[in-house]
Symmetry: C2
Subunit: 355 residues, 2 copies
């Protein structure tokens, strides 16, 4: 019913380490039977040293206790700690947590840690959701070693290609934004991506290169470090504008970079949207409260979250029939940052997902 776990420390290992019988270990760790204080201390020390854990999954199954899943993001704290990717993660978290509880799954939130790595090994989880993992994602590596099922939101890439996932169609979403900018009159569209290895960036690049080739424009693509956040976007946009003064639009999926680019465009003396238009991806606080408000897309993250929980739940029940789910197609949310053609400037208000 469960993917077989890698060899774990068991009660016999603890018994050997402590020089007692397995029954004594059990009694000591479960506060049952007669175990003197000194022996108990020795057993506890051995258990901690070896990293022994009772088999929670089996216990939970037998007692009807909720299974525990964790929601992870692979974005660095510098990006996810701001109003940007945090919104993305939290929007998924809110819906996924409720959907999980409906299926007797408890969702533990593991936001990117300022202190670095998420201490996954001390969470006795039964499975995980991972938001847009990068290639070689350390959390996915850990889950795989432990034989724990994971579902990624956004296709995984690199060695994790085969992981269960909800496809959020990053290529099509990018194309939607690019086509919108073209329809609004843009003829020289530049793109800024993060420099990490993420499937969404790979897909965005493919869509952009196709778009550029079709429209006979050069591919003006640059990358910024995710950890630099807004200032990364500002720097790169500034350099692009200096090198290619006729750029008339930016397609920048990472909203923190997009907000930084708005600053660079203004500093260069250009107007938005009259001289240069801007479009981003996630329709969060950053896009909505930017001046001017940014054109973005509704990713229907509520549906995506439900699909991810369904996939993980199936796998936890032993149903291995599905390897992936196809998420909903994104929907354009046009705003002032791309309203060059006299389309009504929407300064606020959004479609369904947060309605």
């Amino acid at each position: 019913m469960f993917p077989s776990a890698a060899r774990r420390v068991n009660i016999k290992d603890v018994a050997r380490e402590a020089g007692v019988s397995p029954t004594t270990v059990s009694h000591a760790l479960n506060a049952r039977g007669q175990v003197d204080a000194e022996t108990r201390a020795r057993v506890e020390k051995a258990a901690q040293k070896l990293g022994y854990r009772p088999n929670r999954h089996a216990q939970r199954l037998r007692t009807g206790e909720a299974h525990m899943i964790v929601l992870l993001s692979s974005m660095p704290f510098a990006v996810a700690g701001g109003p940007s990717r945090l919104g993305f993660m939290m929007e998924i978290a809110a819906v996924a947590a409720a959907a999980a509880l409906d299926r007797n799954l408890a969702l533990v939130l593991a936001p990117p840690m300022e202190s670095g790595k998420v201490p996954l090994e001390s969470l006795e989880v039964d499975g995980a959701l991972v938001i847009e993992p990068s290639a070689g994602d350390a959390n996915l590596d850990y889950l795989e070693r432990r034989g724990l099922p994971a579902v990624t939101i956004g296709k995984p890439c690199g060695v994790h290609e085969a992981v269960l996932h909800v496809d959020i169609h990053s290529r099509e979403t990018t194309r939607l934004l690019l086509d919108h900018l073209h329809a609004q009159g843009a003829r020289k569209v530049a793109m800024i991506l993060g420099s990490a290895q993420r499937n969404s960036y790979v897909q965005a690049r493919v869509a952009y290169e196709e778009f550029a080739a079709e429209h006979g424009q050069p591919a003006l693509l640059a990358t910024a470090e995710e950890v630099q956040g807004e200032s990364g976007g500002e720097e790169v946009a500034s350099a692009l504008l200096a090198a290619h003064p006729d750029i008339d639009a930016f397609c920048i999926p990472v909203d923190a970079f997009a907000v930084g680019a708005v600053r660079a465009i203004r500093l260069s003396g250009r107007r938005i949207p009259e001289d240069v238009m801007v479009a981003t991806r996630y329709d969060g606080v950053r896009a909505r409260t930017c001046d001017p408000p940014l054109t973005a897309v509704d990713l229907h993250l509520d549906q995506v979250a439900h699909q991810a929980i369904d996939l993980l739940f199936d796998r936890l029940r032993g149903d291995t029939s599905r390897q992936a789910a196809s998420g909903p197609m994104a929907q354009l949310v046009p705003r002032q940052s791309s309203a060059r053609r006299g389309s009504p400037a929407q300064t606020s208000g959004t479609p369904t997902q947060n309605g």
Copy 2:
């Protein structure tokens, strides 16, 4: 080290029910030793029937496994499911989850359920954070019965008055908003509150009545049902304006109600802020993307979340020295909805908390 739990079903009860020895129960439930399939099934059935759970707290202590805490909100889904209180809860969740992980606590997210009650009994939690509980909050009742420590964000009221809490100073925050409206020229300020029994409403009412008495204006206070969300605020504001046409400002702590009131004010042919000003409390997406953007306060929820985790962590370690923490004072975020006196209209941008 832990508040004593109410009498729970133990392994002997299960043994009696299944007609086997306690050791057999242990072996059956922990997949150890020699237990035939039929006996195992009988034990599992007995455990499920009686609602038996192993003592997770003891196990977690002995193995170094993360303790599990849950974040609860007592707002109905209709309000919390929207962009409003969800933002409040999620803002706390993001910070609290990271602070919790740093202390080897796993934070489980329990957003208000569309299906009704949060299934707390199947989560084997060691403690809880509860956001602004109402009087007689069912979750707090449950936690108390189980002897589990809880920390509320916002002072609890009614029978739960003695619960650990972080005081978020609702009275002072309300006064801050009222004084701001007065300074901007308002002379007849109305207030709309939710009809539930919450300490924040009680405190807001006290502050408002004091304010009204001091300024010799009548107390124009009405309540709306939380479950009605924006339309509740619209209806009540509309009735207040009809009964008191000279109202020149609204102080409406619930942002959903405030957005509804903006609609009612507009529909009555009045301008905001020229004829009627509006101020709300939580500085979330709703306040920021309203047209016009709403004056609100920065509640410093990041600090509040850290304080709540610290209190709960102390209690889990057996430190009972503190009963409460005093949260930071809120800070005014003036926006266009109250910018009558030619103060610069801030249409976006906010202070620290999400920066």
